[in-house]
Amino acid sequence: MHFAFDEQQLEFRSQLRSWAEAHCTPADLRAAWESRHGWSPDRWKMLGELGVLGVTVPADHGGLGLGLVDLALLLEEAGRSGLPEPLLENTAVAAPLLSQLPGRFGAEVRDRWLPAVARGEASVGVPVPGLSGLVLAGSDLALVFRGGALYAVETDEPSTGRRRTIDGARRLVEVDAAQLSSANRLCGPEKSTPLRRAAADRGAWAAAAVLVGAADRMITSAADYARQRVQFARPIGSFQAVKHHLAGALLRVEFARPLVYRAAWSLDEADPEAPGHVSMAKAAASDAASLAASTALQVHGAIGYTWEHDLHLWMKRAWSLASAWGDAGWHRARLLGVTDW
């Protein structure tokens, strides 16, 4: 029993943090939100160069061949910096899914796309559970489950059904049913169902990791603000109401974190309890991030309610990811087996 990250994992996190401080500032986030897909192919390339996109890509496809435990702190860092690129979808969901595609066509797709993802030259879209057929905007390849089968659809710009989400970096496009055919069908229900379930679990886990990072950032920012903002001739952080709000929010983040790390371990180990561990992590992280958002907003007051202030960049990510990949209620229900699906 040794529940801690190793030096290498901590070092990789530091590298990503330094990089993000230079290349993923709030100004960069705002620029990304104004851009075509909500994120930047240039920064994607840089992430590839950093090695971040190759963490879960097998070594024989140009990656590091590591697991989700190695990815955890990087995703948390993505949440902390507000990184708009589709890191969680590609590293935690698409790369493992590509690695497992069955059949000859599966091997072709894998050989073509895995190295491209690792290098940051492509982004692969995966459908978000409950929003069937929608994938992230800007994906070069979409892996789509429909009618029980799994398809690989190359399309850098589906024209129909563009939908924005509350998170300005997270835009979804619908994959046209007409594009699905026997030519791009990867497998049928028997093989696709376990793949779909595994993808949903990894996505939920990864969203939890990002949420913990975003929550941490919001609380830290609010604490910084509370130390500086003076009302009634005192920093507002000296008022017990502000202290207790922030302490309460911090508590939820700090206790969500080990759930997230444990779920990563369980997924890597293919522990049969892993889905339950994922649900615990996602439920706790979703709630922690939602609480961090409303607490940070309340501490900031009106300034936090403006577009000009940076807080909303994290709040909106928190709201989006808290609901995506199964919200807290859905994951709690799954733990007891009382979901609708």
């Binding site: 559970p129 003076v230 309340q298 007051g301 009106a302 609901s323 859905w330």
Partner: protein, 392 residues
Amino acid sequence: MDLRFDDEQERFRQEARAWLEAHAPSPLAGHPPPLPSLDTREGFEAHRSWEGAMHQARWSVVSWPAPYGGRGVGLFEWLVFEEEYYRVRAPTRVGQNGIFLLAPTLFEFGTDEQKDRYLLPMASGEEIWCQGWSEPDAGSDLAAIRSRAERRGGDWVLSGQKTWCSRGAFADWLFGLFRTDPEAERHRGLTYFLVPLDSPGVTVRPIAQLDGETGFAEVFFEDVVVPDAQVLGHVHRGWEVAMATTGSERGLSLRSPARYTEAAARLVELWRRSHDRHPRRAERLADAVARAMIDAEAYRLHTYWTATRVLDGGQVGAESSMNKLFWSETDLAIHRTALELLGPEAELLGEDGRPGEWLDGFLFALAGPIYAGTNEIQRNVVAERVLGLPRS
């Protein structure tokens, strides 16, 4: 105790309903289409026209005396009108800062000339008001106001900065407090001014809010000349004058219960529909839905209770702080629950790229615990004035 509206009140309700059903822009079927967002120039003007149409039919300010455009009806009739107004999901009142915040103060402290000058254009939407309370360093600590008004010749000269002025981006006038006696301590030495936003020296900087629209503004004052006629109440006594207004803001008038009972009814509808598609999600959320529904109803009944006391000659005191806490928490609970019912669809914006009704309502509700005195300040007020706990 009698919880029935009398025949005359029922007739009033029917008349209001008939007119609103025929005229109110609304997302409901059979109505003129809803207006564009209030927080755009175009939408603002559309809302102003709607105020005008209401005024024409004398529905804009039902509780005001007839000479000022009202029908001189009582508090319960006003509540009935609000219920009907929200029932048809009529537009947000672009004139509400003036009508609900300034007007009560004008009626209490205004000269006859001021009432004659300001009330009719306010009722008709010709002049839309924004509030000028907060400043960058005076938020929760409102008494820290630093904007100044100095005597020069027979006039006042205003300088300084106001912020978080709701509706400020497109409004015509601002009401607010300025420091007239810089020597006086905090609450003293403030004066209540009425200022046209097209005065020389006024600069309005719209501020985009969470949804990207400009619901509020910063207003800068550089040597803005204002005559005595635009002082409301006594010079240096603006705090007392303003407190009457924030009393109404947090008390009975700003957030009428109809807003929450209507939203709660829509929530129950959403719940029923989602029960068909996702029965277990709906069962899981039934408790939260019923909670929201009960709280909305509690707020309505509490308002009736307070209104009865007011009509019997009582006062609204620290209840206004309790009301503010309760409606702001209820509003958040209603909209949070709705988003949970939407499940994976909660994060999606509409096809038009704007938040749908529930997400939009959630973003709006998030501001509730902040504006009109943060909920932390309100809890202090309740603890100190109602429970008699000592000041810190």
